[in-house]
């Protein structure tokens, strides 16, 4: 169920502004791929093109090709809604549905599909919360609002919500940036566990985190203000952090950037 993603020559625009240009890469299934790079280089933009969330923004569009296994994500016969059911996403800031209970938050995606029975829902909610390392903390208050959890718990709730619909790919945009070190570790453990079943892509500004959790790392950069961001290099994480091919990558990871 984990799937490979193949991106070729991808550009993404906001109106007339080209945010990323000429991105070509392969993302392997059952592994963690980290995106690193300076702020504004288009990591989030690129991530959002992978589940067609980019086009949700007015005026935003994409050129190029993305294959999920053999399926062309931007093919004319592809419904973006179905793409987003296959490629799940966790956002930088935890965004549980504030009017829904913890249980309903996790079940929200399941109910969209509409073909699950009550007992199935119960089982999936429980297993998703367990997978997200949250079950023990919330099992006694599943009917309480999701907004009443701590930030770290909310983020794990969002992860549970995303994996409840059983996606093939899980995209995470700086999932730990709003969290304390302990919650961060909990989520990193979770990522390491989840990669056995999913294709995981994570954007992070934390070099140690990228080194800890990812198998492959992609470094993005932009030539200058107003220029589109580009993929500088992508390789095994150990190689990127010890012996990168590009000077820019080395400068960035050693902090000699700019």
């Amino acid at each position: 169920m984990a799937k490979q993603i193949e991106v070729s020559d991808l550009d993404a625009y906001y109106g007339s502004h080209k945010a990323i240009e000429g991105i070509t890469m392969t993302i392997e299934p059952r592994s963690v791929t980290a995106f690193i790079g300076p702020s504004g280089c288009g990591k989030s933009t690129f991530l959002r093109t992978l589940n067609r969330m980019h086009e949700v923004i007015p005026g935003a569009r994409v050129e190029g090709k993305i294959l999920l296994e053999d399926q062309d994500l931007y093919g004319s016969d592809i419904d973006p809604v179905s793409v987003r059911r296959t490629v799940g996403m966790v956002f930088q800031r935890p965004n549980p549905f504030p009017t829904m209970s913890i249980f309903d938050n996790v079940a929200a995606g399941l109910r969209l599909n509409g073909r699950v029975t009550k007992s199935e829902t119960q089982g999936i909610v429980e297993s998703s919360l367990k997978d997200a390392n949250l079950w023990n903390e919330v099992k006694d208050r599943l009917n309480k609002p999701g907004a009443g959890l701590s930030g770290g718990q909310q983020q794990r709730l969002c992860i549970a919500r995303a994996i409840a619909v059983n996606p093939s790919v899980l995209l995470m945009d700086e999932p730990c940036s709003a969290l304390d070190p302990i919650s961060t570790l909990a989520i990193e453990d979770l990522i390491s566990k989840l990669k056995n079943d999913y294709t995981i892509v994570i954007v992070t500004h934390n070099m140690q985190q990228a080194a800890r959790v990812s198998d492959r790392t992609a470094f993005f950069n932009l030539a200058g203000q107003g220029q589109p961001g580009k993929l500088v290099e992508m390789d095994d994480t150990s190689k990127i952090f010890t012996n990168p091919t590009q000077k820019a990558t080395e400068d960035y990871i050693t902090g000699r950037f700019g």
Partner: protein
């Protein structure tokens, strides 16, 4: 030579010495407190005046004010009661709300989440414009166009849906509670739509993206993220609309049949409302009659208050869930 400024609590020095600020505070505080007290005093004076006017009439009444249906306060033996009028006010306003609310929510959602930006701007402007049309215009439209027009649809409802108590009755009329309710509904629609649209536009992008990323269609996104977020606002808008419908005077004074009956048969030539009765009756009223009308106005005030309180309770009950997402 300039000496360094000192502040009272050791905070950073501001542009002016602290004593200046506190000296300026005096008149300002006096002015705001004074304005507040004045407002309360004026409201109290109005209330006292109305009650003083109403009490003699209530004493002269030879029937029970709250249960009596008849309204003949100008006769030598005054008989009047609020029952039929209050009933008419409530039923016509709720009918108006039931008709207006779904349409208003639909219009608001269309403007906020479906229409292309240009069209949304134009529509929003039109709605605001409609909300500003004086009610007498709606009333005249009701008299000139809707009363004759409603004869057909009313007959249809009576023939085929007469088994529903609302549409029952032996004869149907254009000048009916239903026609008045439709005019009221059209009147309150723009205000409900305008407020709802504002609320829907404020739905956080993060919540909308949360549902889209789960694979929600646009309508599912609206159901999961926009409507729950907008619920308290829509309830407030509906209550505001309901309040307007209950208090509306001139439009319904032109349309309601102006009889004093309690009936659910909204197609019949029966029914009235408190506000319409005041508008129709105040001119020829004796002092007792005026007092009676003022008493009815106080009842209208109480009804509006009850409705508003109920709305607040509904909103408060969901507070725990409504804390907006971080």
């Amino acid at each position: 030579m300039v000496t360094p400024l000192r502040t009272r609590e050791g905070g950073p020095a501001t542009g002016r010495p602290a004593f200046r600020r506190s000296r300026g505070e005096g008149p300002f505080r006096f002015a705001t407190t004074g304005a507040g007290i004045l407002l309360l005093a004026i409201m109290a004076a109005i209330a006292v005046f109305l009650i003083v006017k109403a009490v003699p009439a209530l004493q002269a009444n030879t029937s029970h004010f709250l249960t009596e249906k008849i309204w003949t306060p100008n006769s030598t033996k005054p008989v009047f009661g609020i029952a039929a009028l209050a009933f008419g006010t409530v039923i016509s306003s709720f009918l108006a709300l039931i008709m207006a609310l779904p349409v208003a929510i639909g219009v608001a959602l269309f403007i906020s989440h479906y229409a292309p930006r240009r069209l949304a701007g134009v529509l929003g402007y039109v709605i605001d414009l409609l909300a500003a049309v004086p009610s007498v215009v709606y009333g005249l439209w009701g008299v000139i166009f809707l009363i004759p027009f409603m004869k057909g649809p009313s007959t249809f409802l009576n023939t085929y849906f007469g088994w529903i108590p609302l549409f029952a009755g032996d004869a149907v009329y254009g000048k009916s509670i239903l026609t008045g309710s439709i005019v009221l509904g059209i009147m309150i629609l723009p205000i409900i739509a305008a407020i709802s649209r504002e609320v829907f536009l404020q739905a956080p992008t993060s919540l909308e993206e949360a549902s889209l990323a789960l694979g929600a269609t646009r309508w599912e996104m609206i159901r999961m993220s926009v409507l729950p977020f907008g619920r308290p606002g829509v309830i407030s808008a509906a209550m505001l609309g309901l309040g307007r419908a209950m208090g509306e005077t001139i439009a319904v004074a032109l349309i309601f049949p102006a009889t004093f009956d309690i009936t659910f048969k909204v197609l019949s030539a029966n029914g009235n409302s408190i506000a319409a009765n005041i508008a129709n009756g105040f001119g020829e009223a004796t002092p007792i009659g005026q007092g009676a009308l003022i008493a009815s106005g106080l009842v209208l005030f109480v009804i509006t208050l009850v409705v508003n309180t109920a709305a607040r309770l509904i909103i408060a009950r969901r507070k725990e869930y409504s804390r907006a997402a971080a």
